[in-house]
Symmetry: C2
Subunit: 134 residues, 2 copies
């Protein structure tokens, strides 16, 4: 059975938070928004319908876990969920906590320049918050 | 029990295609991309985690039905799925068939001006394609 390997562009843009039953959970290195990416640890998945029935149910549970957790931890005005993959085809889902006073509201966070990398300390604090809170 | 009412901005931007068990399926009035919006016919749903367990399973099935159907009908390079809701908070999910030669590739379709409304005839043809093919 072929092994899952994380796309190197996803690896470069994000930091590992934790692994759940299906997905690896990674923090987007952009301090402007609480933003994680879920990537099912399965090779050759490009689209939602490439996941098997059982896997897609687990994906849904893990997505809802992030969505509920973001609501509880960050009290955002809206949660944005997106599976795009036009640049990195490996299937991955973004979950972003948005606020009405964030820098690109009400636009999407995707397709824009201007990421602000975390400081080392702020990134560790955010990862601990996510590990504890999700 | 309170009734579901479609948000008027969603109603204005889209045309009814069909109703499934949970969602009403509507065509975005933008001829640049095959683009539908699924809206669960439940009042007061803003976030994915507001849906009950059974409802979220049906949502997943209906999303996969669109995703598979788009693959079969349009043979896109990538399918984009997004639940944003920064402008219209009523929970709705976009599914868009993307091509490498489309006008905003590889950027997202959201947050950009430039929609191209369908002609009456092209819209009817697309709706028939979707009703038959999904």
């Amino acid at each position: 059975m072929e092994r899952f390997a994380l796309d190197p562009r996803l690896a470069a843009d994000t930091e590992w938070v934790t692994d759940w039953a299906l997905c690896t959970v990674r923090l987007m290195n952009d301090a402007r928004f609480p933003w994680v990416v879920l990537i099912p640890r399965r090779p050759h998945v490009r689209e939602l319908h490439d996941l098997g029935h059982g896997e897609s149910l687990v994906l849904l549970q893990e997505l809802q876990r992030v969505s509920k957790g973001f609501q509880r931890i960050f009290e955002p005005d809206k949660i944005n969920i997106g599976a795009l993959g036009n640049i990195v085809a490996q299937f991955h889902i973004h979950v972003v906590a948005r606020r009405k006073d964030d820098v690109v509201w009400p636009g999407p966070v995707w397709g824009k320049a201007g990421r602000e990398p975390y400081s080392e300390q702020a990134r560790q604090t955010m990862i601990e918050t996510l590990v504890t809170g999700l």
